[in-house]
């Protein structure tokens, strides 16, 4: 297994650290590489002197241990993972799985060292946002319910920040939308900036509404909910199977299933299902290959007008209009 160490931190000198570590070449803000270790692209974007962002899109050709070392204490990293397979996240000899069926949003203090173990052939797509603690504290102070917390949270002696979470559905939709933009687009930078701000905004909202809470240790119930959620997503073009059926599959009572599901995703199973259906409907319309009625048939809507009604209430525009104005 290969070991790669990133020691970044001061001044967000990510380009200079990442390129030699991975053996890629720097092109503007991109690092592109295709060697025996990996094939992929990194994109680094400094925002102002307190916020910086990094996009990692790499497929590893051999198993690797990635060590993250910063040695400074003044920023927090938010890592949004979009990964099909699981990777191991190791912190203080404790290993946690990160991936589609596990945690996919990590928030880690720069003070903490951590490692990833990535297997051969795994594609990692990670959006990282680095924010100075001083900046984050300012924003949190504006939010009344978090204000009392922020004093302790940002006291390095009392607390180091580490949180494992699942990103909200909105965040994952945002990232998926963003992935459609090719790296060579002249507007890549603009869209990336847009994405980062929206992700921060979304996360703060998530904190505000506090709908999503997962205890630090993920128990089996939570895991089976997440698995059932993934299954639900795979059959999103069908008919909603009903909570009773889903609960049975996950070996829980319907009421427990519904409660846990809502806690984890912030939406009830039905709402989650139907919102994802609409996301798919929008994507199908964007391809330009289908008419509205074909989309409605494909996704098992009872009739077009119902699809149109739901679509309009979610996106503020009717599907036909959406397609014609694309």
């Amino acid at each position: 297994m290969r070991t790669i160490t990133y020691s970044y931190g001061a001044e967000f000198n990510l380009l200079e650290v990442l390129a030699p570590a991975m053996g890629g070449s720097i092109e503007g803000n991109f690092i592109k590489g295709n060697n025996e270790l990996y094939e992929g692209t990194h994109f680094v974007m400094p925002f102002d002197n307190r916020v910086s962002a990094l996009l990692v899109d790499a497929t590893y050709k051999e198993s690797a241990l990635l060590e993250y070392r910063t040695g400074v204490d003044y920023f927090v990293g938010m890592y949004f993972h979009v990964i099909k397979e699981d990777i191991n996240f190791i912190q203080k000899d404790e290993s946690t799985l990160v991936g589609r069926q596990d945690y996919n949003l990590l928030i880690v203090d720069s003070l903490l060292d951590f490692d990833y173990v990535v297997d051969n052939g795994v594609n990692t797509y990670v959006v990282c946002i680095f924010i100075y603690k001083s900046a984050l504290k300012e924003y949190m102070d504006k939010i009344p319910i978090l204000k009392s917390l922020s004093k302790d949270v940002f006291n390095a002696k009392k607390n180091t920040i580490i949180s494992m979470d699942r990103m909200s559905m909105d965040s994952s939709i945002l990232i998926n939308d963003f992935r459609k933009i090719p790296y060579d687009s002249p507007l890549f930078e603009l869209y990336f900036k847009g994405l980062i701000y929206k992700l921060i905004g979304n996360y703060l909202e998530q904190l505000l509404t506090k709908k999503i809470i997962i205890s630090k240790v993920m128990n089996d119930d939570v895991k089976s909910i997440i698995a059932s959620k993934t299954k639900l997503l795979e059959s999103v073009d069908g008919i909603f199977p009903g909570v009773d059926f889903l609960a049975k599959q996950a070996c829980m009572s319907p009421s427990k299933y519904k409660k846990l599901f809502t806690k984890i995703s912030g939406l009830s199973p039905g709402t989650f299902f139907y919102s994802n259906k609409l996301v798919l409907a929008k994507e199908l319309l964007e391809t330009g290959k289908y008419t509205v009625s074909e989309v409605s048939d494909k996704l098992n809507y009872a009739n077009i007008s119902y699809l149109a009604k739901r679509f309009n209430s979610k996106y503020g525009i009717f599907p036909k209009e959406y397609q014609s104005l694309l």
Binding site: Y139, K142, I143, P186, L187, L190, Y191, K193, G194, L195, I196, Y197, K198, L199, I200, G201, N202, L204, E205, L208, K282, Y315, G316, I317, E321, Y322, Q323, L325, L326
Partner: protein, 331 residues
């Protein structure tokens, strides 16, 4: 009508200074990026952010309490103003004395105007007015058009002596979705700054993509042609009570062939002259019905030059979703 309505003249700038004029005239307070209006004129607030050195964004979300004509004076700052309008009802946007109704239900809710052309805004009293504006320095837009082809199409637009950017149309789908979700957020939310920045960058991206793909043909017209079309359009609007005069006459008035007239009209207004005329007529019909001056639907139909009441009723219902008779009864 506009003589009686107080007029407030202002300018925009890429930096936040322009807001002071608003506060001086309309009252209210400025808190950081936010601006709260005083109850005297309107209830609501505004948000201003400089997202790039060359790009700023303004959100205005308010309910106007009494009619006011906002006139943006032409100024020498070299930028475009891009309007996105998601108001609940129509607002009148007046550029060089020609009315454009822009608003959620109308077709024209998107506009690009050069800062060097003045324009006025008349919002409807009592309804939610929601608008986002991007102010973009011209030199910045130029950086996205390096290809020889665009150089050819756009060169004149950036040369003030020849043409000025001026375009009305509809918001593209993707932007509308972004705006719709932005509209769900309140200006006072602590994370609003991020949400707005995210939306603004995305909108800017969509705008540039749109300029790249579709706009060149649109802006490659001579200003005098556009003026001629606008003039004939004004003529059309002032004669709403007679039947549609026909494209040939209009084209003749504007000194061009009917094909050219129709294409140009379509690119400027996004609809055909006949359809625009019909829609305006129906909007007028709504006003007439609500005015209480008419007892019967047939009177309104006759007033607007429709021979058959049934036909008038049916197109009215197609457009507004209610029969004119119902409207008449309500008032």
């Amino acid at each position: 009508m506009s003589e009686l309505i107080p007029e407030f003249k202002h300018i925009y700038s890429l930096t936040p200074e322009w807001r002071q004029d608003f506060i001086n005239y309309l009252g209210g307070t400025i808190v950081d990026e936010k601006m709260y209006f005083s109850e005297k004129w309107s209830r609501g607030s505004s948000f201003f952010l400089e997202i790039l050195p060359d790009v700023s964004v303004i959100i205005i979300d308010t309910i106007v309490n009494r009619p006011i004509l906002l006139t943006r004076m032409a100024s020498d700052d070299d930028f475009w103003i891009v309007y996105y309008d998601l108001s609940d009802s129509f607002s009148k946007h007046i550029v060089e004395d020609v009315n454009h109704k822009i608003g959620y239900k109308s077709k024209l809710n998107f506009g690009i105007v050069d800062n060097k052309i003045g324009s006025s805004y008349l919002a409807t009293v009592g309804e939610r007015f929601y608008s986002l504006r991007l102010l973009i320095r011209k030199s910045y837009i130029k950086t996205f058009f390096t290809d020889a082809e665009f150089e050819k199409d756009f060169k004149d637009v950036f040369d003030d002596k020849k043409k000025k950017m001026f375009f009305y149309g509809h918001i593209d789908s993707r932007s509308k979705v972004i705006l719709h979700s932005l509209k769900q957020n309140k200006i006072d939310d602590p994370n609003y700054e991020f949400i707005l920045k995210g939306a603004a960058f995305t909108l800017l991206g969509y705008l540039i993509e749109r300029l790249n793909s579709k706009m060149p043909s649109m802006v490659a017209h001579l200003e005098k042609d556009i003026e001629a079309v606008m003039l004939s359009q004004q003529h059309l609007l002032s004669n709403l009570l007679v039947p549609f005069p026909g494209i040939e006459l209009l084209a003749n008035n504007a000194n061009m062939s009917s094909t050219k007239y129709r294409t140009l009209y379509n690119t400027i207004f996004g609809v055909s002259p006949a359809l625009y005329f019909k829609n305006e007529k129906l909007l007028l019909a709504k006003e007439l019905l609500e005015s209480g001056d008419f007892k019967f639907v047939s009177d309104v139909a006759y007033e607007l030059g429709y021979n058959k009441t049934a036909y008038f009723s049916s197109i009215y219902k197609d457009y507004f979703g209610v029969l004119p008779n119902t409207v008449l009864k309500e008032f």
